[in-house]
């Protein structure tokens, strides 16, 4: 693994950074997947693109921010008391409040905007969704703090240390050389310290021999640094903060909980029935209104959790339009996986995250936002129902 840099058609593919990018992609993808679930579930039961879902996500971010302020992490409070300590409990409260608030917002939007549109044409419902989305964005611009876009204080996240995993180590001779150099450097340093005997290294009373020893120690130290750099270059590893790892795990846990809710509870069964056949389900005695509210709450709660984690662990700044781009991409992810299909949304989300970081990795970071749509168009042309979706044959 001497040379991990490949050049093809004028592009540089540095394979030593690939694993790191894949991990980044996985984390971005986890957030996409979480939002995509909300789109896909609502589409499943109502056949409606809930354009306002991105805004629910945005509001979730703000709720998390406000909760953190409540715990004494607002800019003013931090000025008075910069040493405020965060804890896991605060984070748990933040995520729970964000989820609950988003669930409530989702239910309110459903009740006031979408329920009256249920018997109207699909395009009218879609326009209503766009209207709600615009309303939340621009009303947010008026009522929510947004200039400059606030972000959650760093101190809130107690899990900032890096974890480093080596996949491919540097060649043995380099590592050996490093160990040897390190020993020598330490040795020289020790000798020099002893010789100095408490004096500063610039002290006038230093003899020439002692000065030479100092220079030698310095050179050994430089060699160690050089070898350190070489090792970093030749080894392939992944660095991830503990917080992001927690985030990834939480997303997976939430997905498992969702799966349990949908597959193994009566409410989930009702939800599946409604998404299969709206009218028959209501004839079978299922309270469709309840199911739809439940679906909205579930999807919105996931968005709230995603928003809280994104702003806390990634430190993303929040502004009223921040749900738009993410929301559209997550929706694309849902379509990619096959809209209405829950595992499809998860798959689509992760694929989207990976695809984006791969594009960045290949040197096209400017086109990061376009890749989502390119993939979408290609997939839809090859498989119009999405990857896991079934393209239904219309009965004639």
């Amino acid at each position: 693994m001497e040379n991990l840099l490949y050049v093809w058609a004028g592009l540089e593919f540095n394979f030593s950074t690939l694993p790191q990018q894949l991990v980044n992609g996985l984390i971005t993808g986890a957030i996409y997947a979480l939002i995509a679930l909300g789109y896909t579930m609502v589409y499943g039961v109502l056949r409606l693109i809930n354009f306002a879902h991105g805004e629910v996500f945005m509001l979730g971010g703000y709720v998390a921010l406000f909760v953190s302020w409540g715990f004494g992490f607002s800019p003013e409070a931090l000025q008075k008391n910069p040493d405020a300590q965060s804890s896991a409990l605060i984070l748990v409260i933040m995520i729970l409040v964000a989820m609950a608030a988003c669930a409530l917002i989702g239910a309110i939007i459903e009740y006031f905007a979408y329920r009256p549109m249920r018997n109207q044409s699909r395009i009218a419902a879609l326009i209503t969704a766009i209207g709600v989305s615009l309303f939340l964005q621009y009303a947010g611009q008026i009522f929510l703090p947004n200039s400059p876009p606030p972000s959650i204080a760093q101190q809130v996240n107690p899990y900032q240390e890096n974890l480093k995993f080596d996949l491919i180590s540097a060649p043995k001779e380099t590592r050996d050389a490093y160990t040897a150099a390190k020993t020598e450097s330490d040795n020289l340093k020790q000798q020099f310290e002893t010789a100095l005997n408490g004096r500063s290294q610039f002290d006038d009373t230093l003899t020439d021999a002692e000065k030479a020893l100092g220079t030698q120690a310095q050179e050994a130290q430089n060699k160690v640094s050089a070898l350190e750099g070489e090792i970093a270059q030749k080894s392939v590893g992944v660095t991830i903060t503990v917080g992001k790892l927690i985030m990834l795990v939480t997303v997976i846990v939430l997905m498992l909980i969702l799966r349990f809710l949908v597959m193994a509870t009566p409410a989930g069964r009702a939800m599946r029935a409604v998404s299969h056949d709206f009218e028959s389900a209501s004839l079978m005695g299922i309270n469709v209104n309840k199911v739809i509210t439940f679906t909205f709450m579930l999807g919105s709660a996931l968005a709230g959790a995603g928003a809280m984690m994104l702003v806390t662990f990634e430190g993303t700044a929040i502004h009223p339009f921040f749900g738009l781009q993410l929301g559209v991409k997550a929706f694309v992810a849902a379509v990619l996986g096959g809209i209405g299909n829950i595992p499809g949304a998860v798959l689509g989300g992760f694929l989207m995250g990976l695809a984006e970081t791969l594009v960045v990795w290949a040197g096209y970071s400017n086109y990061k936002d376009a890749v989502a749509f390119v993939i979408l168009i290609v997939v839809l042309l090859l498989k119009p129902g999405g990857i896991l979706g079934s393209s239904k044959v219309e009965k004639v």
Binding site: Q120, S121, I123, G131, Y138, I339, N366
Partner: protein, 406 residues
């Protein structure tokens, strides 16, 4: 000379007269800012009616119309920058050439987007058109040859209000002619039921692609006018919001109604642009208090729920219904004013103020929601303006009297 030619010549003359009036009004506004608003409103008529051809008449759920507008504009901008210096022509003639070029390139893009629509339906098509718009915009943002996100400028600026009007008239005429002749029926049939249309011999593929190509070409021509009018372009002019705005115009006016799209375009455009410039007598921005804002919101919410109740549960004669509706509207306005006056006196809600021009997009979204909740088929639904209707309007009291007499 038969009746046909008489009518045709009369309508062409009327159209030209309309353009002349438009030109006269536009040049006498005396303010470049208002002139620009006037022109943009005209362009939005073209955009909205051309999207209506795709969305309303053919039923293809396209929500990325700004992409075609952008392609037309960039085509005109790039060509002008590259060739105008070498071939100085009469600016108006150059504008026409650019409109054709912009229209052509936008039509090609329409073909490109129309082709997937053969396989995709409804929401899937919607998201592909939206994605197409985003891709075009991101590509332009990353092309340094057109200035990337900073945009690029070019000359000459051609400000031709009459051309804006003419394009709008041509667009409306094309759509109206289509609906008047049997040629429009396949488009409507595809919207209603593709399988049945196909069984009746309608070439569904060709029809959809024709709608996309035609609609995009018109939007592209509008883009070319915009480009030469501004002399400067950047990708942010064509954000997703523009697509949504055009779509909103179509839906608000009544999907499928040409009259509706055209009127909604003017109305909506002015609704979001005029508040930008409202000023108090001493040139300050208009401020609105938190109390007024909250009360207005409350009044709208209450009015909507009451109006919906009347709509669903009141079955009396139409004039009674009208009285009730007006009562609700008047009552909520009065209530909002009174309550906000009271609350404005308090320190908490009366002291916090907001600039009115920041509210314009909120007003747009609320208007959208109000229309959707009260009249989801759009204000004009599928109705069209017709001279018969005008005649009936004027004859109405006539008929009423006749009825009373008999």
């Amino acid at each position: 000379m038969g009746k046909f030619w008489t009518v045709r010549i009369a309508s062409v003359v009327a159209a030209l007269a309309g353009c002349f009036i438009f030109q006269t009004v536009a040049t006498n506004l005396g303010n470049d800012y208002y002139l620009r608003l006037f022109l943009l409103a005209g362009l939005y008529v073209t955009l909205s009616v051309s999207l209506n051809l795709i969305n309303g008449i053919t039923g293809q759920f396209s929500i990325g119309h700004a992409a075609f507008y952008m392609i037309g504009a960039y085509t005109a901008g790039i060509l002008t920058r590259a060739y105008y210096e070498q071939q100085p022509l009469l600016p108006e003639l150059w504008l026409v050439i650019m409109m054709l070029a912009g229209g052509l390139f936008a039509a090609l893009a329409g073909l490109l987007v129309g082709l997937p629509s053969l396989r995709l339906k409804g929401d899937y098509l919607a998201i592909v058109t939206l994605g197409f718009g985003e891709i075009i915009r991101i590509v332009a943002t990353n092309q340094q040859s057109v200035g990337g996100s900073y945009g690029f400028s070019f000359g000459p600026k051609v400000v031709a209000p009459w051309m804006v009007c003419l394009l709008a008239i041509i667009t409306i005429a094309i759509c109206r002619n289509l609906l008047k002749s049997a040629h429009g029926l396949p488009f409507l049939a595809v919207r209603e039921d593709e399988i049945a249309a196909s069984a009746m011999g309608v070439n569904v593929t060709k029809t959809k692609v024709a709608a996309f190509v035609l609609g995009s070409a018109l939007a592209g021509a509008a883009g070319a006018i915009l480009a030469l009018n501004e002399g400067y372009l950047n990708p942010d002019i064509f954000k997703m919001d523009v697509s949504f705005l055009i779509l909103t115009m179509v839906v608000l006016g009544g999907t499928g109604s040409i009259t509706g799209s055209a009127l909604a375009a003017i109305f909506l455009f002015l609704t979001i642009e005029i508040p930008r410039n409202i000023q108090t007598a001493d040139g300050q921005k208009v401020q609105i208090t938190l109390a007024s804002l909250l009360m207005a919101g409350l009044a709208i919410a209450i009015a909507i729920s009451l109006l919906r109740k009347i709509k669903d549960h009141f079955h009396g004669p139409p004039n009674q219904r009208l009285i009730r509706n007006l009562g609700v509207i008047g009552g909520s306005i009065a209530g909002a004013i009174v309550l906000s006056m009271i609350l404005n006196a308090t320190t908490v809600m009366g002291d916090k103020t907001f600039e009115f021009d920041k509210l314009r997009m909120v007003i747009l979204s609320i208007m959208l929601l109000v229309v959707m909740l009260l009249r989801p088929q759009g204000v004009l639904a599928h109705h069209e303006f017709s001279w018969d209707f005008v005649k009936r309007l004027f004859r109405k009291d006539h008929d009423d009297k006749a009825e009373v007499a008999s």
